[in-house]
C-alpha cells in the first residue's frame, strides 16, 4: 500500500570530511544535473561510466566533475577503478588519503513497449550485479566516513515512481533489485545513510536532481525507500 509522505525536512549536514562522491552515469542529463548540484554542495564528484555495451551514452560533465570509465564488468577491473578513484581524488585537505563519502547509483532508464512483456534485460542484470559488488568494495570507505559525518549509499531506480504498483509502465524488472540491496545495507551498515529512490520516468532531470538532494538531507532515518511521481512523494507500507 502506498503511503503519501510530505516533503522531507532539511537537515543541515556538516560538510563531509570525505568529500568524494561516486555517481554512476545513467547516460542522461540527470547525471549532469545531479553532478552539478552535488559539486555545488561541496562534493568532489566522480562519475563512473559503464562500458558502452551496457550504457551506450555517456552524460556530458561540467568542468570540475571527473569521469572514470569501467572498460568491462569484471570484479577485478571494478576494484582497480575504485582504488584509482580513492587514490586520485580522495586526498583530503590535510594531505591524508580520505575515504569515499558517498555512492549514488542512477539506474539507466529501462523502459519497454507493452508488447515486450516482462523483460529481464541482460544489461540491467549486469548493472545490478555491479552495484552489488560496488557495495561490497565500498563498505570500508562508507562505514569509515560515517564516523565523521553522514555518508551515503543511494540507489535511484526508474520504475514508475510508485514502486511498480501503478500497473501502467513496463519498466525493467531487474531495477527493482536495487531496493532489496539498499534496504539490506541499511540494516548492515547502521551508520551509513542508505536510501532507495524510485523516480517516475517522466520526471524532468532538474526536478529529479532536486528530489535526490532533498532525500540526502532528510533527517528521517527510519525511511528506507521513497518514490516520486505525479502522485507526489510516497512510501510503500505493508497493509495490516
Amino acid at each position: 500500500m502506498l503511503k503519501p509522505l510530505p516533503d522531507p525536512d532539511w537537515l543541515d549536514v556538516p560538510r563531509p570530511t570525505s568529500p568524494v562522491c561516486i555517481l554512476t552515469d545513467d547516460g542522461s542529463p540527470m547525471t549532469t544535473k545531479l553532478a552539478d548540484s552535488l559539486t555545488h554542495q561541496g562534493w568532489k564528484v566522480v562519475v563512473l561510466s559503464f562500458p558502452v555495451t551496457i550504457v551506450p551514452r555517456k552524460s556530458a560533465l561540467s568542468p570540475g566533475v571527473e569521469r572514470v570509465i569501467l572498460e568491462d564488468m569484471s570484479e577485478t577491473h571494478l576494484q582497480t577503478q575504485l582504488t584509482t578513484i580513492a587514490t586520485r581524488y580522495g586526498v583530503g585537505d590535510h594531505g591524508r588519503g580520505s575515504e569515499i563519502g558517498a555512492f549514488i547509483h542512477l539506474n539507466p532508464l529501462f523502459s519497454f513497449s507493452r508488447q515486450a512483456g516482462l523483460v529481464y534485460d541482460v544489461a540491467e542484470r549486469a548493472i545490478a550485479k555491479c552495484v552489488f559488488l560496488i557495495a561490497k568494495h565500498l563498505k570500508p570507505s562508507l562505514t569509515t566516513a560515517a564516523q565523521t559525518g553522514r555518508s551515503y549509499f543511494l540507489t535511484v531506480a526508474r520504475l514508475d515512481g510508485v514502486f511498480g504498483t501503478s500497473h501502467e509502465v513496463n519498466f525493467g524488472a531487474i531495477g527493482a533489485g536495487l531496493f532489496g540491496l539498499t534496504k539490506t545495507l541499511n540494516q548492515e551498515w547502521t551508520q551509513v545513510f542508505c536510501r532507495a529512490i524510485d523516480l517516475a520516468p517522466r520526471l524532468d532531470p532538474e526536478v529529479s536532481a532536486q528530489c535526490i538532494l532533498a532525500e540526502m538531507h532528510d533527517p528521517n532515518l527510519s525511511l528506507m525507500e521513497v518514490g516520486y511521481s505525479s502522485q507526489g512523494r510516497v512510501a510503500l507500507i505493508a497493509q495490516t
Partner: protein, 579 residues
C-alpha cells in the same frame, strides 16, 4: 472476466515443491482441491535406500551408519562427505513423503529432477510430463537458495546462485509455460525483499525482483491471478531451530505450518485476484542500533505552508489558521524519533508555546529546529532538548516552541484507569459545542463526541476521530504521536470553562506529556479532564486518555491555558464571518 477456480483438473507446476514449506503448501492445496501436480527440484529421488539406512530416522544414528558404510567401502568419512550423503538420503525421503502424501489425498503428482535455471533441460523434461498430466494451469515458484553472509564477504558466485534460482528460474518457467495460459501464478518471495535483511543482500535483491515482476505480470496479464507472497520466517524449511530461538529473543514470530499453508489457500481465493504483492508474517528487522555515548546536535529546517497542511483550515482563530500546540509537540517529537529508528516516544516535558505560529501572511517561510541530545542512558533511553525558532525580516530570532523529549526502546506497560466505567446516562452530545462555537475547531478536530459528566472539578468525555488521509495531515503525521487526538484532549478545557460560565482559553504550556501507546484513530477514547489550579486568567489541568478497556494511552499533566474574553471573541468572529 470469469475468474478461474481451482478444481480436480487444474495442473500446478511447482518449483521447489518436493520439500520445504512449498511442499507443505502443495499438500494443503491438494487436500482442498485434489488437483494435479508437477513438482520440480534439483535433487534426485533414490530408487531405494541402502539397506543399512532403511528405517533409521535419528540424525545422529543415520550419520553414524553413513560413516560406517563409507569406512566399509574404504572411503574416508570426512564431515563434509557424510553430510552430503546424509542430505541426499533425507532429501530423497522428504520428496518421497510429499509424493506419498499427495497420493493418499488422491492428488496425482509427479516429481521431475531438474534445475530451474537450466532452460533447455527444463523444456525437455517438462514436455513428456505435461503430456501425461495435462496442460499447466498454475505455477508456484518456490525454488530458492540462500548464501547468508555480510556484503563484504559475498562472492559473485553467491550472487549468481541466489539470484538465478529466483529470477532466472521465473524467467525460464514462463518461457516454458506462457503466462497467458495460466490462471494462477504464485511467487514465493520473502520479507527479506520487502524490508531488507542483514546478511541477505543477494536474496533481498532477487525477492524484490520477484515482487515487482508480479506487478509487471499484472500489467501484461490482468486476467491471471498473480501474487508475490513476502513470507516472514516459517516454523520449518530454511529456519533452523537455532535461528528460531534467536527470533524468539527478538520477538519475531514464526509462521506455524498450518497457518502459513492456510494463508496460501486464502490468498488464491478469487477475492484477492488483483493483489499482486502481499506480506505475510513478521519482518526480520535488527534491534535498534546501540547508542554510543556521543551526544549530537542537529539543525533541521522545515518550510510551512497552509497548502501543504490542509488540516490547518480546520484550526482557524480570528480568521487565520493557527498551528495547534499539539502539532508543534508532534514536530518536536517526530524529529527525535526520526533520528533514532526503533526508539519510541515516551514523554515530552516542559513543553512551551513561546510564540505560536499564525498563518496571517507575515509568518516566516522557514522554521528551524535545534535538536540536541542531552543524555543517553543504558542504551535504553535518549533525551533531547528541542527549540524551534524562525528568523524575522529584521534578522531577529523568534523562539516558537521548546521542550524536552524522551525516547525509550521499550515503553512501560500502560496503566489501567476505568474512565469509561464512570459513564452516566445523562450524556450530552459533544458536537453541540462545535456548533455553538464553544469549540472553534473544524471537522478534522471535532473529536469530542459525548460529554459523559461535568462538575466543578472535572469533565469526562468520549472522543473519536476517523482516520485522516496522510495528505490531509501534511507535515504532521500521526505516527510517533497523534497530534489530532491529542488536540481533542486539550479541547476538553473549553467545554469545562463553558459549563462554568467562563471565557475561552488556549494552551501555552504542558508540563508533561506521557505516552504509553500512540492515540489511535477509528477507536473510541475516553478522557478525564481534571482541573488543578484555576485563576481568573489561567487554568492548569490534567487529562488522562484510555480506551474502553481502561488501557491508558496518554497522560497530559500540567496543561496551562490562558483564559481571556478576547479569545472567546476570536472564536466567535468565526461565527460571524461565516454567517
Amino acid at each position: 472476466m470469469v475468474l478461474a477456480k481451482i478444481n480436480t483438473s487444474s495442473v500446478f507446476l511447482v518449483s521447489g515443491g518436493g520439500r520445504g514449506i512449498t511442499a507443505e503448501c502443495v499438500i494443503r492445496l491438494a487436500q482442498k482441491y485434489q488437483c494435479r501436480w508437477i513438482l520440480l527440484g534439483r535433487s534426485r529421488i533414490a530408487d531405494a535406500e541402502p539397506a543399512w539406512a532403511e528405517g533409521c530416522t535419528d540424525p545422529a544414528d543415520l550419520k553414524k551408519r553413513i560413516m560406517q558404510a563409507m569406512q566399509a567401502q574404504g572411503e574416508k568419512p570426512t564431515p563434509m562427505a557424510v553430510q552430503k550423503q546424509f542430505n541426499a538420503i533425507t532429501t530423497s525421503r522428504d520428496i518421497r513423503k510429499t509424493l506419498e502424501t499427495l497420493q493418499n489425498i488422491g492428488s496425482p503428482a509427479e516429481y521431475v529432477s531438474v534445475d530451474v535455471t537450466d532452460l533447455a533441460t527444463l523444456k525437455e523434461e517438462l514436455a513428456p510430463v505435461v503430456d501425461r498430466m495435462g496442460a499447466i494451469t498454475g505455477v508456484i515458484h518456490g525454488a530458492g537458495n540462500l548464501a547468508d553472509k555480510w556484503i563484504e564477504n559475498k562472492t559473485e558466485q553467491d550472487f549468481e546462485n541466489v539470484y538465478a534460482t529466483k529470477v532466472q528460474g521465473l524467467d525460464n518457467l514462463i518461457h516454458c509455460i506462457p503466462i497467458g495460459q495460466l490462471d494462477h501464478l504464485v511467487l514465493f518471495s520473502s520479507v527479506a525483499g520487502f524490508f531488507g535483511s542483514a546478511g541477505q543482500a543477494d536474496y533481498a535483491i532477487a525477492n524484490e525482483i520477484l515482487n515487482k515482476s508480479a506487478h509487471l505480470i499484472k500489467l501484461h496479464h490482468p486476467e491471471c491471478h498473480v501474487v508475490s507472497i513476502n513470507w516472514g520466517p516459517w516454523d520449518s524449511g530454511m529456519v533452523t531451530p537455532e535461528l528460531k530461538r534467536a527470533f524468539a529473543r527478538r520477538g519475531i514470530e514464526v509462521i506455524p505450518i498450518e497457518v502459513g499453508t492456510q494463508m496460501l489457500v486464502n490468498e488464491l481465493n478469487a477475492r484477492y485476484h488483483d493483489q499482486a504483492q502481499v506480506v505475510i508474517g513478521s519482518p526480520i528487522v535488527p534491534p535498534p542500533a546501540d547508542l554510543d555515548g556521543e551526544l549530537r546536535s542537529y539543525r533541521i529546517r522545515r518550510r510551512l505552508t497552509v497548502e501543504a497542511n490542509p488540516f490547518l483550515r480546520d484550526h482557524v482563530i480570528g480568521g487565520n489558521p493557527v498551528l495547534p500546540a499539539t502539532c508543534a509537540a508532534n514536530w518536536l517529537i517526530s524529529l527525535c524519533t526520526q533520528l533514532h529508528p526503533g526508539y519510541l516516544f515516551s514523554s515530552l516535558e516542559n513543553f512551551k508555546v513561546l510564540k505560536g505560529i499564525v498563518f496571517d501572511g507575515t509568518q516566516a517561510k522557514e522554521f528551524v529546529a535545534d535538536v540536541q541530545e542531552v543524555g543517553k542512558t543504558h542504551s535504553e533511553e535518549v533525551h533531547f532538548e528541542v527549540r524551534l525558532w524562525s528568523e524575522q525580516d529584521n534578522g531577529k530570532i523568534r523562539f516558537h516552541y521548546s521542550g524536552q523529549v524522551k525516547l525509550r526502546q521499550e515503553l512501560s506497560p500502560p496503566p489501567v484507569h476505568l474512565i469509561s466505567k464512570f459513564a452516566t446516562n445523562s450524556t450530552k452530545s459533544g458536537l453541540s459545542y462545535y456548533q455553538d462555537k464553544t469549540l472553534f475547531h473544524g471537522a478534522t478536530f471535532q473529536g469530542i463526541r459525548e460529554v459523559l459528566e461535568a462538575d466543578d472539578r472535572q469533565l469526562r468525555v468520549q472522543c473519536y476521530l476517523p482516520s485522516l488521509n496522510p495528505r490531509h495531515q501534511g507535515q504532521f503525521l500521526a505516527d510517533a504521536f497523534n497530534p489530532y487526538m491529542a488536540d481533542v484532549l486539550i479541547q476538553t478545557v473549553l467545554i469545562w470553562l463553558k459549563e462554568q460560565h467562563q471565557s475561552g482559553a488556549l494552551p501555552t504550556e504542558i508540563q508533561q506529556i506521557t505516552q504509553f501507546k500512540p492515540l489511535p484513530f477509528d477507536r473510541p477514547i475516553f478522557a478525564l479532564m481534571e482541573t488543578k489550579v484555576k485563576t481568573s486568567t489561567s487554568i492548569i489541568y490534567n487529562v488522562t486518555a484510555c480506551d474502553e478497556d481502561g488501557t491508558i494511552y496518554l497522560h497530559l499533566s500540567g496543561v496551562k491555558a490562558t483564559i481571556s474574553d478576547r479569545l472567546s471573541q476570536l472564536f466567535g468572529t468565526l461565527v460571524s464571518s461565516h454567517s
